[in-house]
């Protein structure tokens, strides 16, 4: 798998994601700067990492979504290249129009930083093939703007089409229908607030995130 991790000014989980990808896929991902207009030839997986791109100015992910590299990311996504956006990366993907809805300030206004149990709602996607449907996994969250909102019709569509990939099993940030992660209609773009890349080895205190990347490696490579 030839992966690429996009780096914006203010990204801070880019290296966590790169380490996880290298460990699991056996290949160092290309780190692509936000000003680059192109992704390396043959890129078959793109990660948009967590952090505080552009200091969360205007809205979380708003500036990053309009940076030069995102044109290349959108083109790749349209060609079917799998794209994952984690935390700030999820915010970037919604701002870029690659995923529906928006991530707003947490309902209680406080930064949430803890492990949360999630249910894998759809284990048929590229990203969740390593899990059993309905399985409970624990990923850490660390965000201020993770409150997922969309209009009721859009939410119904997501649910009806099996595009809710992960759901919080306890109240986390006020998200509509406890949605933690969603897929695009083609199923090759996943955005989620929790951090699978932070639970890939025993020293992290958990390994539930590992199977996300392992499943992806099997389906992509």
């Amino acid at each position: 798998m030839k992966s690429a991790v996009v780096v914006f000014p203010g990204s801070n989980c880019d290296r966590d994601l790169a380490v996880a990808l290298e460990q699991i896929t056996g290949r160092k991902p290309a780190m692509v700067w936000h000003k680059d207009a192109e992704l390396p030839d043959g890129t078959d997986f793109i990660g948009i990492p967590g952090g505080f791109s552009y200091g969360d100015y205007l809205r979380s992910g708003a500036m990053a979504a309009r940076s030069p590299v995102m044109t290349a990311v959108k083109e790749a996504a349209e060609r079917g290249v799998p794209v994952i956006g984690i935390c700030n990366g999820f915010q970037v993907l919604t701002e870029a129009g690659l995923l529906p809805g928006a991530l707003m300030r947490n309902a209680r206004l406080s930064f949430v930083c803890r492990n949360v149990p999630l249910r894998v709602e759809n284990s048929q996607s590229l990203f969740t093939a390593g899990y059993q449907g309905g399985e409970t996994v624990t990923f850490p969250v660390a965000h201020h703007d993770g409150n997922y909102q969309a209009d009721p019709e859009a939410l119904d569509r997501l649910e009806g089409e099996g595009r809710v990939a992960f759901r919080y099993l306890e109240e986390c940030n006020g998200s509509a229908r406890d949605i933690a992660g969603i897929l695009n209609d083609a199923g090759n773009v996943l955005g989620l607030m929790p951090h699978p890349e932070r639970v890939v080895e025993a020293a992290h205190g958990g390994t539930d995130g590992r199977r996300l990347f392992e499943g992806l490696l099997e389906t992509v490579a």
């Binding site: 205007l58 809205r59 708003a62 309009r66 919604t94 701002e95 529906p100 809805g101 928006a102 707003m104 300030r105 947490n106 309902a107 209680r108 206004l109 409150n147 909102q149 969309a150 006020g174």
Partner: protein, 79 residues
């Protein structure tokens, strides 16, 4: 020429910040507040001749997230 863009959350979109402000106002003893909605104002200094359509385009492409926000443009006449 200057213009101001007012960005507000759409009706029905819950506004945790507005709620917190409302709470704080009540805590200070202001009892006559029914509801609070928080938004933002962006002031643009524009070259003369910038059209309304241009400003609207700026709002749609960047300044507002039209999934959750409305915008209103107000031109400031300069003497």
């Amino acid at each position: 020429m200057k213009a101001r863009v007012f960005i507000t959350l759409k009706n029905g979109v819950l506004d945790p910040q507005g709620k917190a402000i409302h709470h704080a106002l009540e805590g200070l003893g202001f009892s006559g507040v029914n509801d609070v909605r928080a938004g933002k104002m962006i002031e643009l200094d524009l070259t003369d001749g910038t059209s309304d359509a241009d400003i609207e385009d700026m709002c749609r492409k960047l300044l507002a997230n039209t999934v959750i926000e409305n915008f209103r443009i107000e031109r400031l006449e300069t003497a």
